[in-house]
Symmetry: C2
Subunit: 212 residues, 2 copies
DNA sequence: TAGCTTTTTGAAGGGGAATTCAAATACTCA
DNA sequence: TGAGTATTTGAATTCCCCTTCAAAAAGCTA
């Protein structure tokens, strides 16, 4: 390890370009937020995650809260784009729906993406910026489901009991809520159980067994 | 005002017994948490809410975080008991169900009870104590719905499409999620809209119009 | 290689909040 | 009423973290 160093002690973190370092810092901040909480994370935590000193972090982001918002935003977008990518791999509405439900849930209590979103959720009541970010994520996820449902209905695969908007809003809401349950380590509700609970709702309102 | 005081300035906060003061402090901490956020609240905020100085607070709770946990717990129990009381006022399962759904939602973005629970939700991923508290609340709320559904099914008022446990878990999950949306100030989803969304689910799975 | 620029370090300082504690105050009970 | 005890105050101290900044290090260019 540390193959490039022949000396026993590294004197300074590797020097990087402004833009590279900013990307690194956003990642480091994301990890620090998950570890310490959005309201407890401090400069030194971010520096540690990035392998730098506090001064270096400040050199790139004179305002820590700005970095934190960027980190939250970046984590959120990553989560959303990941879901979009997963859907794109399929054409069958049933497969899309089932897969989308799965992809909205954490893989386990430690799932970094969902942990980050949950951190934001707690702060959104106080901090308008986080409220706006989460609202926009919610709305986009609703649209995502809506287009799946619309397609399925048009193809005659789904027979919807209610309007697609209502169903989609509820589907995203269920994902969110079970995300919280799972990260809070509910002893009976893990990713599989949560998926099954949401699928139960989806089956009822689509009139489809959702066997894929 | 201050009818008991003839002097212009009160020299010291009213002296209270250990147990009385602890109860006061838990309430004060609850208010302080709502005002400042669970991770930003500080000793002086609690002291101010209680009408005491920081030293006095510390005299009763040498560890602030212990007081905060107790405050969260108390707030949670208050929320739950409030709901139980509301249900108890009715016998008709339809009325119970509709009312229970309403009582699980915040009255608006500033609703203190729900704000407090949301604060906890964000921290539950990091802090096991909050995770346990929230899990226990969730389970009790699920039981609450389950007993309503069971009764309604037994009376033939509800025709359940799935097992009551699944339905109940989803109902509580929906409440939770819309609680977050509302406190985050979603421009289209307020208490009324959220109630309607959840009712849409409830109607589908109970086979009842839920007109009360 | 020398000089210039950019990035990083580390130490010093400044501020705000927790903590400590002696003194003051209020209550209890004999 | 007076002694003793419990509670509260307020100021001094300590702790922790952000902020600043001069100097060092690394990279770049000619």
């Amino acid at each position: 390890m540390f193959s490039q160093l022949s000396e026993a002690k590294a004197k300074m973190a590797q020097r990087k370009s402004r833009s590279d370092r900013r990307v690194d810092l956003i990642e480091a901040a994301r990890r620090a937020i998950i570890r310490h909480g959005i309201d407890r994370v401090q400069l030194s935590h971010v520096a540690e995650e990035a392998g730098l000193t506090s001064g270096a972090v400040l050199y790139h982001y004179p305002d820590l809260s700005e970095l934190l918002v960027e980190a939250q935003h970046a984590g959120m977008e990553r989560f959303y784009e990941q879901r979009l990518r997963q859907i794109a791999a399929f054409t069958d509405p049933v497969a899309k729906l089932v897969l989308t439900i799965r992809s909205g849930l954490p893989t386990g209590p430690l799932d970094p993406e969902v942990r980050l979103l949950n951190e934001m959720g707690g702060a959104a009541g106080r901090n308008r910026v986080y409220g706006v970010l989460l609202t926009s994520l919610y709305d986009r996820q609703v649209s995502m489901y809506q287009s799946i449902l619309d397609t399925g209905a048009a193809l005659g695969v789904f027979t919807l009991t209610t309007d697609p908007l209502t169903i989609s809003r509820n589907l995203v809401a269920l994902e969110d809520a079970y995300g919280y349950r799972i990260t809070a380590r509910h002893p009976l509700i893990g990713p599989d159980e949560a998926a099954e609970l949401i699928l139960s709702y989806a089956r009822t309102v689509t009139g489809n067994d959702l066997i894929h």
